[in-house]
Amino acid sequence: MLKVTKLTKTFASPAGSVTAVSDISLSVPDGVFATIVGRSGSGKSTLLALLGALDNPTSGSIEVADQDITKLNDRQLIAYRRRRIGFVFQAYNLIPNLSALENVMLSLELDGVGKTERRERATKLLEQVGITEDKHSRRPSRLSGGEQQRVAIARALANRPKLILADEPTGNLDSATGDVIVKLLRDLADSEKTTIIAVTHDAALAKKTQLTFTLQDGKLVKK
């Protein structure tokens, strides 16, 4: 269970302080595919960064498996991101000079998995997301957008996280490829009991998920 309570994030700017996320409370049960929708600047990406411990909230709490991650120190946050969270980014964010296989193995290496085991697991994950073996050694620049996003999803799944956070996962893909990626994420939520929270402004994607939160000006306006 992911439980967010009165979460607020305020940024300082030359024009004064800006509240990107304001007093948001929500909860997402395990194994649910949820979306956060809203217009640009509504605070959805900031909320996702807070959930993934990529940023510190100004106030409020985020409980993941009954542990308040806002109370963790830097070392614990690194471990939290490594073991509990999988990130999928709109721009894929694969490491450009590593092959598809090496990108997936990277997460496993950070978690101390041995070389043989991480190669086996990475190969299996790439096959699971539909990347054929002949493309495992290709660098991201030699993969299509959809293939890169599949590799990114495989990387996110590498350490078997309980929570996958996806920021506009279909934003750079055509609709057909986007549908494939959404189906892939939904199947993962079902099969692995992984909680998936995706930020999107794509209403069609939101309709395909079990839970949708709508943000407007940093506030949760609809569940």
Partner: protein, 444 residues
């Protein structure tokens, strides 16, 4: 693949940039190495020169120079006192006399000329010709110099020139014997060769060897054992010149003072060649300073190049750093990866630079030395070739400077390069890594 290996691979991510950086670093390293080698070689040469030339002191009887002036000769006991002074490495001493046709069978190889005539008249030996001119030699013939020394390899008393034994052999100068070395022009004038004999002071001398000092004055001399000339000329225990060798040019001034204090300024004139030596060393000191500043400049330039390059690379990879942090990489691993990358780049540049520096350093140093010492000044004495060392004349001590790359120097260079690489990459990488991942990724 570890972070270290990944960092090393990243060094080749952009081939053009890698090549450019390696070339720039190689230039910087090569220049630094060349300047370091130049600095070391020049300093070694300065130390060598200080220990070999310009560190002599001439001690003569007060008021006397050669056969001019007057005063009383020095004595063996005074020379022995000089030997006991600090920083005195050695003392060679001699008694100089003149041989004429009245006390020898030798005929001088030098014609008097107007200078000889003037000196003869000034010495009370004649009257000036009508009209004030001094043309012609008349019947006057300049005398032959007879020198007795305790060290035939160091005949400062002969005056300028570099002497070489061209025939025969030298002798033990401390043993009283009727043997002599004869200057080449004097030998030719008197038809002397090795084994020939001539008369001097009523004794018959055998020619032991012929020398060539490269100048007319010195080649019109005979060199004989010191006790022999002292005995035959009636000057037993007397010395007309002593040359003191000091351990370093830095101690010459103090030794001059010590000799003056020991003998007294009314007894001996004490003259050093320190100024001339300092003048000779000035260009080398200048090169030493230039090379030191160039070395510092090259090292600083290399450090700045590495720092700015890594700063640029780190900023360029802000998003990548954010991704690494998002998937659970620690700051240490991220910084370590950039250090590894910087070290590979730096070591490649350093390796190329060391090779280039080793190849070109000798040429650069020679250009520096030749352009700064176009008129080398080389005071000094000694007798060259088989005779021992050179006596009189300049010593081309500054010409032969060679650099050499030692193993320790390479290790120091590599250590310096590694330190620069670590600091230059760790600082910008850590500055980015400590920022929250969301900020790094957002701020691209």
């Amino acid at each position: 693949m570890s972070f270290v290996v990944r960092g090393a691979k990243n060094a080749f991510r952009n081939g053009l940039r890698t090549a450019s950086l390696v070339i720039i670093l190689a230039l910087s390293t090569g220049l630094a190495l060349t300047m370091l080698l130049a600095h070391q070689a020049v300093n070694a040469k300065i130390a060598s020169v200080k220990g070999s030339i310009g560190n002599t002191i001439n001690v003569t009887p007060a008021g006397s120079r050669g056969f001019s002036g007057g005063g009383n000769p020095l004595t063996q006991s005074q020379v022995d006192e000089i030997k006991t002074l600090p920083h005195v490495a050695s003392v060679s001493y001699s008694l100089t006399d003149q041989l004429t046709t009245s006390n020898s069978s030798l005929t001088s190889a030098i014609t008097a000329g107007s200078l000889g005539q003037r000196r003869r008249i000034e010495a009370g030996g004649g009257t000036p010709p009508v009209g004030g001119g001094f043309a012609g030699g008349g019947n006057f013939t300049p005398p032959v110099s007879a020198i007795g020394s305790n060290d035939v390899n160091n005949l400062a008393a002969l005056g300028g020139g570099t002497a070489k034994l061209t025939a025969g052999k030298t002798f033990d100068p401390t043993v009283d014997a009727d043997v002599a070395l004869v200057g080449s022009t004097l030998a030719a004038k008197n038809n002397l060769s090795v084994g020939s004999t001539f008369q001097a002071y009523g004794a018959t001398f055998t020619v032991s060897g012929i020398f060539d000092a490269g100048n007319q004055f010195s080649n019109n001399a005979v060199v004989m054992p010191l006790p022999t000339i002292q005995r035959l000329s009636g000057q037993t225990g007397e010395i007309t010149s002593a040359t003191v060798q000091v351990d370093s040019i830095d101690n010459v001034a103090a030794t001059v003072t010590a000799i003056q204090d020991k003998l007294g300024t009314t007894v001996a004139d004490v003259v050093s060649q320190q100024d001339a030596s300092n003048q000779a060393l000035a260009p080398l000191a200048s090169i030493s300073t230039i090379s030191l500043y160039s070395l510092i400049g090259a090292v600083v330039a290399g450090a700045v190049i590495i720092f700015l390059t890594m700063l640029m690379i780190v900023r360029e990879r802000r998003r990548e750093i954010g991704v690494f942090k998002a998937i659970g990489a620690s700051n240490a691993k991220i910084v370590g990866q950039f250090i590894s990358e910087a070290m590979v780049l730096t070591l490649m540049g350093t390796a190329v630079g060391i090779v280039a520096g080793a190849i070109f350093s000798n040429s650069v140093v020679k250009v520096l030395v030749s352009s700064s010492t176009s008129n080398p000044v080389g005071p000094g004495h000694g007798f060259g070739g088989g005779f021992g060392r050179a006596f009189g004349g300049g010593v081309r001590a500054l010409a032969n400077i060679h650099t050499s790359v030692g193993f320790s120097l390479i290790l120091y260079g590599l250590a310096g390069a590694i330190i620069i690489a670590v600091v230059g990459s760790a600082l910008p990488a850590y500055a980015i890594a400590k920022i929250r991942p969301a900020e790094v990724m957002r701020g691209e």
